[in-house]
């Protein structure tokens, strides 16, 4: 089940912590460079990588064996994508939307 037998997770924890700090620094620095349309792409890509690191290693989704828990997590992401993606595709394609 849960891997209490593993020798020491400390190395992982500190590596994840370091990666999160580096990610924060990169987000900050990238925002001051003109990447054109890729500024928000870079910001969201780094943020999502950081969120995944926290969820997988700090919240222990990696190695979780409970199927019900996996179902809850996957459906959460699924419904969030429905909320954001369907709403934004609607706003992006309606002819009467304010574009100014």
């Amino acid at each position: 089940m849960h891997d209490h037998s593993k020798s020491s997770p400390l190395k992982t924890y500190f590596a994840v912590w370091g990666s999160l700090l580096v990610g924060t620094y990169l987000t900050y620095k990238a925002a001051f460079i003109d990447l054109g349309p890729f500024n928000p792409v870079a910001a969201l890509a780094i943020a999502t990588t950081k969120a995944l690191l926290v969820a997988l290693f700090f919240m222990h989704l990696k190695g979780a064996s409970e199927r019900l828990l996996k179902l809850v997590v996957v459906s959460t992401v699924f419904f969030l994508i429905i909320l954001l993606f369907l709403t934004m595709s609607d706003y992006a394609t309606r002819p009467w939307s304010i574009t100014a």
Binding site: Y13, W17, Y28, A43, V54, M59, L84
Partner: protein, 238 residues
């Protein structure tokens, strides 16, 4: 979940009798999984709760991108970045606290819980400084709101529309304010965890409240990981 009222007949359990095992659970493992699952379901509702706000943000950002960029530029991005690092450090001390409980290090557990709360308070202090700046600059939406003659990034000849910038600041205060409220609630939860740890209630066999409280803390961290670039770093480059 902290009180165990019933003593289970020995015949129904052939494994250990920890006092924390409630009578409606068969094993400590089942009880622990149920608590974790319950927290994840709560977090699912929290994702949808913040998701609605992020959705509103995306719609308005798309409509008023220039005005949002100008308004975002008026916030101190360095303070926001430092706060991100502070929260990441607090997430590390949370996992170290759980590790300390798993390995019976009571002093380390208490130290990590105290450090987590100190990081949380530091975050709120920096947030308070930011809010104070916004109050002084009249950037709080309402009767005294003022955002006159602020150029749009990349278009020095155009000024941001104050009524559109006000929408940005409304979203900024609602989203960071609700996040800060979650931090305050988190500090309450961790005060209780610290009290339990002080009394020696957590053992390698039983430390579920730490894990469940930790899940909540990490979730609040993840919300901030998205809030930071979306609110502070919209259009910063020269």
């Amino acid at each position: 979940m902290s009180d165990s009222q019933a003593v289970v007949p020995a015949s129904s359990h052939d494994d250990i009798h920890s006092p924390e095992l409630l009578h409606h659970f068969a094993t400590p493992e089942q009880q622990r999984n149920s608590s974790n699952l319950g927290m994840w379901i709560f977090l699912a509702t929290e994702v949808m709760f913040f998701g609605g706000l992020f959705c509103a943000y995306l719609i308005y950002r798309r409509w008023y991108f220039g005005d949002f960029g100008a308004a975002s530029k008026s916030i101190d991005a360095l303070l926001g970045g430092i706060n991100t690092a502070v929260l990441i450090c607090s997430s590390l001390t949370v996992v170290l606290a759980i590790w300390a409980a798993q390995t019976s290090r009571r002093a380390l557990l208490i130290l990590m819980l105290v450090l987590t709360m100190l990081f949380g308070l530091t975050f709120l202090g920096i947030k308070g400084k930011e809010y104070k700046d916004k109050f002084e600059e009249h950037h709080v939406p309402g009767a005294t709101f003022s955002f006159e003659h602020v150029p749009i990034p990349g278009h020095p000849d155009q000024y941001a529309k104050p009524e559109h910038a006000q929408i940005f600041f409304a979203l900024y205060f609602i989203m960071t304010g609700l996040h800060a409220l979650h931090m305050v609630i988190g500090l309450g939860i961790f005060s209780w965890l610290l009290w339990m740890a002080w009394k020696g209630r957590f053992t390698p066999e039983y430390h579920t409240p730490l894990e469940v409280g930790g899940l909540y803390w990490h979730f609040v961290d993840i919300v901030w990981i998205y809030l930071f670039p979306l609110l502070y770093l919209i259009d910063r480059h020269p």
